[in-house]
Amino acid sequence: MGNQELRLTPNQEIILATLRFRKRYGLEVLQAIEQSGGKQIGFNSLYPNLKKLEQKGFVKSDWGDDPPEQHTGARRKYYRITGTGTQALESKQSLLERVAHWTLEPKEA
């Protein structure tokens, strides 16, 4: 998979990072970001980003065992990172590493 296909937006990166070691549901992702003091993301951009990550194949979702919500009948979905998602996250982190360690090569006289 090319670097272009592994590209992540800042919001997608932080969402993916919350899913790295455990599967979480939407609000839990938001709480994890808020409680860890990470970059705040808006509630309204959370679910569209999760959907985009799912479409890219970076996360997979499963229905939880929780009963449907009483007013709306909506069920809870748990998201977990896939191999491609991990690869995308690592690719981003290695890019940051490379950027941090980059130095200007001295020009030959």
């Binding site: 959907k51 449907p68 009948g73 909506a74």
Partner: protein, 301 residues
């Protein structure tokens, strides 16, 4: 208040149940909104929590609705692309349909080419007229008379400009009729249809804004009567009249407004629309040629 809001969320959930695919995809978002209400009430004053909750619901509704519309349109397009002639249709009727389809589409394309040509003629002659035309109450009529009588080929240019403008209106209307008649045979004609309608409206607008530009008796009084009609439009009528005239009465400012609308806004819009119209018709022909029914009738050997 929260009971009312939760009832509202329930209604949205009930409505979204009608769209199984979107419900599958987005129900956890709705659940997230509903569940987060208690947190909002804990963190914010009641009015603010209600406001945030409702905003989230509205955003959710708008977002999901847009996907519902897009998915429906995509399905319609896919269904149209995969339409094959019914088995009972004989070879003769298939060839006849293909021939009709070809004729309608080719006619629409030729009309669009003609409309674009007329637009070009109108634009070119308009630019030439603009060299001598004076958009002032005193100078308008005099400058047009001068163009018609004293400038080399001025009368020809003026006539061509009028002819192209009137021809554009006529052609656009004929085009709408052609496209309407061929609508059942043509696929993906929506863009061409919409641009055709807009082109007709802008051609009419060009003709209407030109009424007062000649600054003669007929044009002046006709414009005055039509301004009265515009003024009678409920709510916005008097505002629109004031914007068009630039004051209480028809004056040089009115002439300048009409000149600006005619020469810049509507003229550019008409050219762009006629290009878009022709492009969408060419795309339509290409799309149709890729479908199973042959468009161009084959010569019978």
């Amino acid at each position: 208040m929260s009971g009312k809001d939760l009832k509202l969320a329930g209604k949205i959930g009930h409505w979204l149940h009608q769209f199984p695919d979107e419900w599958q995809d987005y129900q956890d978002w709705l659940r997230g909104i509903t569940v987060s209400l208690s947190d909002l009430q804990r963190l914010y004053p009641a009015w603010q929590a209600t406001l945030i909750f409702r905003w989230r619901l509205v955003y959710f509704l708008a977002y999901v609705s847009s996907f519902i519309v897009v998915h429906r349109l995509q399905r319609i397009c896919i269904n149209q692309k995969t339409i094959t002639p019914p088995e009972t249709m004989t070879e003769k009727t298939t060839v006849q349909s293909a021939r009709n389809l070809f004729i309608w589409q080719r006619m629409a394309t030729l009309l669009a080419v003609s409309a674009l040509t007329l637009c070009g003629i109108a634009a070119l002659t308009g630019i030439l007229l603009a060299f001598y035309y004076e958009p002032t109450a005193i100078g308008a009529h005099y400058s047009l008379s001068k163009i018609a009588t004293q400038i080399s080929n001025g009368s020809l240019i003026l006539s061509l400009h009028n002819l192209a403008g009137n021809g554009l209106i006529s052609l656009s209307i004929v085009q709408l009729v052609v496209m309407f008649l061929g609508r059942q045979l043509q696929r993906s004609w929506f863009a061409a249809w919409v641009s055709g309608i807009l082109l007709t409206i802008s051609a009419m607008g060009l003709s209407w804004t030109a009424i007062v530009l000649s600054w003669d008796q007929i044009g002046f009084w006709r414009f005055k009567i039509e301004l009265g009609l515009i003024e009678s439009i409920p709510l916005v009528g008097s505002e629109v009249r004031t914007i068009l005239t630039g004051g209480d009465s028809i004056s040089s400012v009115t002439l300048q407004h009409m000149h600006m609308l005619h020469s810049y806004v509507l003229a550019i819009a008409a050219i762009l629309l006629s290009i878009a119209h022709l492009a969408s018709l060419i795309f339509q022909e290409r799309n149709s040629q890729q479908t199973e029914i042959p468009l161009r009738p084959k010569k019978m050997s």
